[in-house]
């Protein structure tokens, strides 16, 4: 169900601009790994290279290797569609399909991947909504449009949509930055539950959040504006926040810059 990610020597470009340079790290299965760092340090770009969403941006290209267990995502015979099917993603702003009902939103990924009986779809949708702690709030209005929900509910709907296809890895790009504190708490609790089943990578601006939800934390930084972002260090979250091995990490965490 959950796979390990091994990144080695990964560099990503936007046209001729180098956004991140030479990143290598390992993401452990069934754990939460948080990416922190100042704006523009490339943490979101790096996240998007993990399911080949980066190359969707015009001019986006990647060098290096990303191994999912033992398979290189950027191998020559790899189908990017299959990659994104295996590595799910939740975005910064909740983005349920506005023309679809709550039910159809959750079932959207499944319907792409083959035909299911109505009863099977019902089961998966219920399980996914329960998995996203949203079932009790929406079970009576599954046929209403997803855009009628509150922001926090919409984001949990997007999580339900992502986990309905049972990906190996779940990438979250600042999933709480558009939400109020109570919704944020709900999502953080949910992340804690989801890591039993998925490998989770989360980008966050909020260091308290990284400290609360993650097992390991990676700190990214850039030398100067216009320079590519780099991975400074990755370690157990406790260590990063108490006793980091690099001075820049400590400066960032203690709020001296960023």
């Amino acid at each position: 169900m959950a796979k390990r990610i091994d990144v080695s020597g990964l560099t990503a470009y936007y046209s001729s601009h180098k956004a991140i340079e030479d990143i290598s790290m390992t993401v452990e299965p069934r754990s939460v790994t948080a990416f922190i760092g100042p704006s523009g340090c490339g943490k979101s770009t790096f996240l998007r290279t993990l399911n080949r969403m980066h190359e969707v941006t015009p001019g986006g290209r990647v060098e290096g290797k990303v191994l999912l267990d033992d398979e290189d995502l950027y191998g020559s015979h790899v189908d990017p569609v299959a990659v994104r099917r295996t590595v799910g993603m939740v975005f910064q702003r909740p983005n349920p399909f506005p023309t679809m009902s709550i039910f159809d939103n959750v079932a959207a990924g499944l319907r792409l991947n083959g035909s299911y009986k109505k009863s099977e779809l019902n089961d998966v949708v219920e399980k996914s909504l329960k998995g996203a702690n949203l079932w009790n709030e929406v079970k009576d209005r599954l046929n209403k449009p997803g855009s009628g929900l509150s922001g926090g509910q919409q984001q949990r709907l997007c999580i339900a949509r992502a986990i309905a296809v049972e990906p190996q890895v779940l990438l979250m790009d600042e999933p709480c930055s558009a939400l109020d504190p109570i919704s944020t708490l709900a999502i953080e609790d949910l992340i804690g539950e989801l890591k039993e089943r998925f490998t989770i990578v989360i980008v966050t601006h909020n260091m308290q959040q990284a400290a609360r939800v993650s097992d390991r934390t990676a700190f990214f930084n850039l030398a100067a504006v216009g320079q590519p972002g780099k991975l400074i260090e990755i370690d157990e979250t406790e260590r990063i926040f108490s006793n980091p091995s690099v001075q820049a990490t400590e400066d960032y965490i203690s709020g001296r810059f960023g």
């Binding site: 398979e71 015979h77 790899v78 189908d79 569609v81 991947n113 089961d123 399980k127 296809v165 049972e166």
Partner: protein, 354 residues
């Protein structure tokens, strides 16, 4: 997942058999070759058939190969891609041909003589003659229509943006939309019914101008409205706060800020009506001689000249050549207006930015 009740379908591995990157091109070239071969072999004399065969082959082979090698979903994706390309090419061919034919056939008799002489008493079977009278007529009719439409259009747009809140403004907005959709021939019939049939005036360039104004006003209103809405409210407030009366604010601050965009809109509207034939046919009537007075007697106009040379010539090649040459002049005039208008829009755009 032990408690999963439904086995979720998923790919076994990330890799999938894929057609090589060059395959769409190869299929396209193959289809075109096969289309030509079938066309030649079966003795089909219309190139349209060749093209349709090639297009069908391209889509069909793409689907078959895609489905065989990559699976159904990928095949659908490939078919969608190939259909979109085919749609593009299908549409480009006639549009390109239109431009090409007009230029290639129009250039034949287009010279200074053609531009500076009228048809006079040249009959439709003989070569010679020119379009001076038609150019003159078009310029006068379009000029008069612009003189009528621009003030009305501008003022209406100002009313809608700067003053209009109530029911009247809503009604005007709605009917401007409706007016945009009036067929040009209906505008012509209207002027015909009241100017010529009821008031008893004769055919004239001015009658045509009035019909053209009906077509032009809504275009001017719409584009001016858009431009006025782009003017930031802070500018208006700053001026009003200085104690400048509202009408002076509009004249001295709002209009100058948006003048570039308004000019563009007016030029595009002029380009639109310059090619209108139907109302001119009903109201200006056409005239092979030079009539410089738009207020009395039939005049010529470029689009009407094209129609007359085509329709009333009994199939004479000389007349067709003149029709193409006039079409080329008309297209060139309209394209230049369009290009200049868009140029102004681009040049003025950064300044009007919010």
């Amino acid at each position: 997942m032990s408690h999963a009740t439904v086995p979720v379908k998923r790919p076994d591995s990330l890799s999938a058999a894929r057609l090589p990157r060059w395959s769409p091109w190869a299929i396209a070239i193959g289809s075109v070759a096969a289309g030509c071969a079938i066309g030649l072999g079966a003795g089909l004399d219309s190139r349209i058939q060749w093209g349709l065969i090639a297009a069908l082959l391209f889509v069909g082979v793409t689907y078959a190969l895609g489905a065989k090698v990559e699976g159904r979903r990928q095949a659908k994706d490939r078919v969608a891609t190939s259909l979109v390309w085919v749609a593009f090419i299908l549409a480009v061919i006639p549009l390109a041909s239109l431009v090409y034919e007009t230029v290639a056939r129009g250039i034949k008799v287009l010279d200074v003589y053609f531009l500076t002489h009228s048809m006079g008493f040249v009959t439709s079977y003989e070569p010679g003659g020119g379009i001076y009278h038609a150019i003159l007529g078009t310029l006068e009719q379009v000029g008069l229509a612009t003189l009528i439409s621009v003030p009305i259009g501008l003022l209406t747009a100002i009313y809608l943006v700067e003053y209009g809140r109530g029911k009247l403004a809503k009604a005007v907005t709605f009917f401007v939309d409706v007016m945009t959709g009036i067929p040009s021939i209906v505008a012509g019939l209207f002027i015909l019914s009241f100017w010529i049939l009821i008031l008893g005036f004769g055919y004239s360039g001015f009658a045509g101008s009035m019909a053209l104004s009906i077509l032009m006003i809504p275009v001017v209103v719409r584009s001016t409205e858009e431009m006025l809405k782009l003017v930031p409210n802070e500018l208006r407030e700053a001026s009003l706060a200085l104690g400048v009366p509202k009408w002076r604010t509009i004249l001295k601050v709002v209009l100058p800020t948006s003048i570039g965009g308004i000019t563009t809109g007016v030029m595009l509207a002029v380009a639109r009506i310059a090619g209108e034939t139907a109302p001119v046919l009903l109201l200006v009537f056409g005239n092979p001689l030079i009539n410089g007075n738009p207020f009395s007697g039939p005049q010529a106009s470029l689009p009407l000249y094209i129609y007359d040379q085509y329709a009333k010539s009994g199939g004479s090649q000389a007349a067709y050549d003149r029709a193409w040459a006039a079409a080329l002049v008309l297209i060139a005039f309209i394209m230049i207006l369009n290009l200049v208008a868009r140029g102004i829009a681009r040049w003025k755009a950064p300044k009007s930015g919010r």
